[in-house]
Symmetry: D3
Subunit: 314 residues, 6 copies
């Protein structure tokens, strides 16, 4: 008996028919992006290289392939910053093009290119300040965690440092007016660490997050200095005003203000434009939708004992 390996007519017909449907503009016009020839595309691979390069610049000797020595650091900084400038200019340009609604004939590419380079240079000029702030974050994580053996371990291993670094990078890019790219950088950290900080949030110095998985910090949050969050903490929106079409109005402040020296324990959910007063401690798993005065300590109402009769459950 011989067998027939070829996919027969039925299969091929089914496939060809589907290709036709998938290529019908009616089916994809809401979810496609038309690329204009000659414009760079945002690239998560290049953005990952950018973030790694910034990390290597900020924390010399930890990341990247290089072996830092005092007599070579000047050269490495020069080369990394130079490569960063080229890569970042291109990705900023990609962000500008991706979010641009103009017709091709309305675009002055050389001028846009030049603008992207200026933004990249402005970002680079801010790197020393980002390093200064991250030093305070590293210190806060080290001092605040009895399990931390050394600052090296914190820098090398702690997901919070990775997430906060990406946040501080993305926040600065967003402040400079770069579209799309900050959000992608934020989501890269979200995927790696489970910590979701919106690049638009404002966060003070000596900020730390322990463990971190599930933390959410909304776009209009304002966080003071010396704040510590545990895993699963949400600083979110409770509700948002709708416009006449029933759509949420964008840009309205709707996330919490967390003042200096606040600690929020695991899984606490703090919603709405409320203020958690300075020096407060919020216990885990609570649901907070009202202002909390300074120096408060709040915990969940007491759990209760119950009795169940069934098998493996509760």
């Amino acid at each position: 008996m011989k067998i027939k390996m070829q996919s027969d007519h039925t299969i091929l017909q089914k496939i060809n028919q589907t290709v036709k449907q998938l290529a019908d503009p009616k089916t994809y016009d809401m979810v496609c992006h038309e690329h204009r020839l000659g414009e760079p595309l945002p690239s998560t691979e290049k953005l990952a290289r950018i973030v790694n390069m910034v990390r290597e610049i900020l924390f010399p000797g930890y990341f990247g392939n290089t072996s830092l020595r005092p007599d070579t650091i000047r050269h490495y900084m020069g080369v990394y910053v130079d490569e960063l400038f080229e890569l970042l200019s291109e990705q900023i340009l990609a962000g500008l093009c991706f979010t641009c609604d103009k017709q091709p004939e309305e675009i002055d590419m050389p001028e846009r290119n030049r603008f992207a380079q200026e933004l990249a240079a402005d970002f680079i000029a801010y790197l020393p300040e980002i390093r200064r702030i991250l030093v305070t974050d590293v210190e806060a994580a080290f001092v605040g965690d009895p399990a931390a053996k050394s600052r090296s371990e914190v820098i090398y291993c702690y997901p919070a440092i990775r997430a906060i670094s990406n946040y501080r990078i993305a926040h600065r890019l967003l402040e400079l007016g770069v579209p799309l790219i900050p959000r992608i950088i934020g989501e890269m950290a979200h995927s790696e660490t489970g910590i979701d900080i919106h690049p638009k949030a404002q966060i003070g110095e000596s900020f730390t997050i322990d463990h971190g998985t599930g933390v959410v910090i909304g776009s209009t949050c304002i966080i003071g200095n010396n704040v510590k969050l545990y895993q699963g903490v949400t600083l979110g929106a409770k509700s948002f005003p709708l416009d006449e079409h029933g759509n949420p109005i964008k840009g309205v402040p709707r996330h919490p203000i967390v003042e200096d020296n606040v600690i929020i324990y695991a899984q606490a959910t703090i919603l709405g434009r409320i203020t958690i007063g300075k020096n407060s401690v919020i216990g885990g798993n609570v649901w907070v939708t009202n202002n909390v005065p300074p120096d408060s300590k709040i915990v969940q109402s007491k759990a209760r004992e119950t009795a169940f009769s069934d098998g493996g459950g509760i």
Copy 2:
């Protein structure tokens, strides 16, 4: 003084002894998989390429390397679908082989191969419908999030879209009877996004998840249209009936039914085969194990103030 770099007899003996133990069938027979010559293996790398290809087909111009232009979309769809068909046929075949308990001589490989191709073609024929539903999901995410700048940003950056896409792909493959592969695709999204949707769950249109880390949707869940979940929401099982050997009985409905237009806030835990009635809003951090009637709004009981005297804690 000369030094001795060679690992000495003790080390090598220890290693050789361990190899012997590790190769003893008694120690691995519960946790090994015997591969039959000539059968393809499930490959997370190939499945990742499959998922990326499907994403590029569904959302043309966003993912992949291609630069979509109206005059080329037909060709790209044709090539992507063709490559998808080959890759997917092979991985479906791998899934069929991996979970097969028959003896080699009982297997009709050409027929199985043919069956895998038919399943792949059936999946492809469903892609336009998946695209149609995902458009409603994208729209729900865009409209429901004041921080979303554009549909592009939603498609490109939002982890929920990634997780829901994988779910809709995996769900269809599971409906077609493909073993193992749907679960792997689901776990790929789980790892990337922290959102864990079982491929067997049934989920309606205009579904959206905000932030998403920690969301769990169990295998017998039924979710209506226009439902929104926040991060950390569990739609899980409370308990499950045991069989005479004390093992859980598989396949019994044990996860919630969530009706249309329900919103569930962060970290809420909804357990058991209960129904959350339509238009209800469930506050964050609540523990719900009973039916909730339509149009309900439920929040956690009020938190309480406490006083502590010790150092950094609560």
Copy 3:
């Protein structure tokens, strides 16, 4: 009109100025790591290969590229263990060097190298025991999850198995005295699965975690046999004693003891050196900071109905 593509003087000056600042030791001395010539560096890529190799050794035929057959397993074990020995020796040496504060002239590299090899061999000698325990974990996950189709699916897909494998590997390395490397291996699983188990925690047999995202198990936890955790469970510290400088005292027991046969549901937060007595069931979303006697069942206090008038929120 001609255009000027070159970045002009202003941009270059800005960049050069920044390079100078970034290379100023004052700005980086808290956050840099000086590499000593000739010492290996910890490498997340090599550690990932090590973990994959261990997984392939422990669960033959599932991971890696190999196709296991009974007549070849001895050879594969021999080759994998041999490669593991070389890679692991190097990474242990890298860990020893990375955390070493001595001056170069105080270090006896050949002796340290030899010590790293001995640690690697000791770890390898423990692999059969790790496999034995992991078999109990796989069994617990399979028996305890009605959605699990087969042990194969559990081994291949379940993030808990991945996280617990990394934990058992890292825990053994830490017991042997290897610095830094165990923590990196733990964080690799944390990033992939959202499950954060400190390598120092002590965990019994037949341990399982369902879904898992957001689980945190602190460094001084002690967990008995046959314990099951759901996603988002925290076994953390409530507070920690401070030393005379206001810094937390390291190494003090401060995380829960969870006795045999305990089940803890989603998002429960258990804090402090308390004991959850054997056979207890802790409901989801509770905040527990006191001892729980054996055979207890605890759930959150009842949620309350509320009424809201505003748009999309709660």
Copy 4:
């Protein structure tokens, strides 16, 4: 005894001193290429992809990853040509920039970009003609080699087809006025096959080279139809007129004209602007610097016997 792993002062001083010398413009100004920001660079990797893509377009189903089927060829051609257009436009632009001596402010980048795209499109429009001619070359190789089993083997394995394909691609690009890129494409084939055909040479149809290693065809050669060369054949220049500074005058015809139906055997060296008349056969290892009339057959003068007394030599 402790050992000193650090490279000492002497080594580092030596290195630092050398860096200074190497960065001194006087030492590199003859051999450096200054890159202008924002201009693409010629890339041998991208050119290799371009050549592979052209090969896949010309000989469908042989190269690349694709599995050609009649119902999909149109789509594959569409996608490959589209990708080729983008890649080639960029590399042509890179060639134009690399060889440009103008100051940045004199360059109109958008216009140059547009020009590169036009050249790429013109090249693509010539592909069907290149395919037509290559069919004659494949046929000549197949018919002329008793060892060739099939046309498939010729297309898949014969280095001559690879070298002639690169030549015909490079020749067309050079005719269109593309700088540098044609030469790089020619040298890629030279490195792979040992066959060195200058892109400027003019070569007729049904051209074939057997084995090929060492063949050299100079830039002003003119070769008719149905010519066959064996390995090691040189069609070179004997001498070239010098200008008043003693430098060779560029562009003067100085390589042979080889008329239709000529066969030249291995290692023959034909030099100067001479003509090998049609239907001639040139034997191996001869040195020819004068015209050869049509229908000639020329071989080396007879070898002689000698006697040696020493060991392994001659």
Copy 5:
């Protein structure tokens, strides 16, 4: 002034028109290969891995990533041979499919698959004999070259060993009846080393080639033991009988027989079914088309002095 980046109508029309031509079967039917779904394709990458694996098996410790030690060699041989068997079975199957003219319904794939496995196993069973012969080749190269420092250098660096290894591998595969694959393996060595040995040639033991670039050994050559060739030597065909259609008759013996202990110097061209008698020495650059009796020594006729007047040439 705004610029227009989009490629305009003319360019796109040109491209679309070309795609149509290139997809017209009339233009490609002589030079395309139709792939049948489900059949493996010959892959130069996989064949390169196969050749590297064979080299590592034959010369343990030189190639590949492994570090050979006496206590591990058995395991490495087991694993390499096992991987070789799988890879080679697949590529032999690919070769059988590629050269098959049957209709799909005439092919019994399982039987063909089985046949490929048997050929792979037969090849593997011959590996010890290939190693035995290659030892004689290595010895001949080492003894015969005063510049060779050690056998290690010969094995690691000498292109002749690479080319002869590929030849001995390809020759055995061809003897077993494997189509296409031997030729590809031969051309891989040709491209790397410039040495072109037809897999069908018959070559004795202790064979060596010095330098090697440009050597050609035709398919019907017969070479005895202890023969040494220098670079550029051709053992080729002088002419070949034509059939009634003017096409060369395939398979007729038409290349030289070289008896034991012959040395042939650089660039010598030996053509036709002639015999170079044992112990002969052939000088460089000669053209030999007649039998050479045993113990002969032949050199080119004496060069002559000339006088030229022009510039840089001859």
Copy 6:
């Protein structure tokens, strides 16, 4: 009908039997290399990176990924030289270990490591001199080839520059006493370009090779300044004195001396310790085994016409 995919007993037995033979020390002891734990291995990949790095250092802006600008060259030189130092130290160490016959206990690894670093630093200190000489080679190639459009084209494309660069690198390493590595670097160029220059040969300035495939320059050659070779030229050994065992005596001068300003045309074979006097021109395809006085011009004796009657041959 069911089919049997498993390879049966016969195949597996054949394979297992072969593994046993291949692992028998008697069969491989002449052709294996035993690796000592902890010693680096020579790596062609790392050596390729070393050569590329040196090329980028010598010809800034041509190779590598960097975009050279005057204000960044100092940094790039610093970083490249630093990376080169680490990579090269390791590979020199690998070379020292590979060729070492001592027992492990006789080796002082730290001292050997230190020695490797010193050799690497000495090589680096010579780079400016290598650049100075290569500038003369580039100039000679540019001036001597009417087809060369620019020095850029020569540096970027000419295989001779690649081969001569590798030679000058390898020659210096060999002079410093580095074993094995120089030969590997030489063979890398041989494989890429077909030009085989022994690293031990001595070659003056302004040296150029046109086309180059097949050129061989033996280990005891001495070549003056301003010499030009064409493709296929051999500067080889005619015979070599044998020792009492019939083996060639190593290290005896046996290759030609070529004085200043000599040109040698394609395929000429110059053998033995003879001298080609300055300003001489040697025609192609000649066989020269005697001294040639200065200012000579030598060509092959005249070819002869012949008549053949048979088909496609000569």
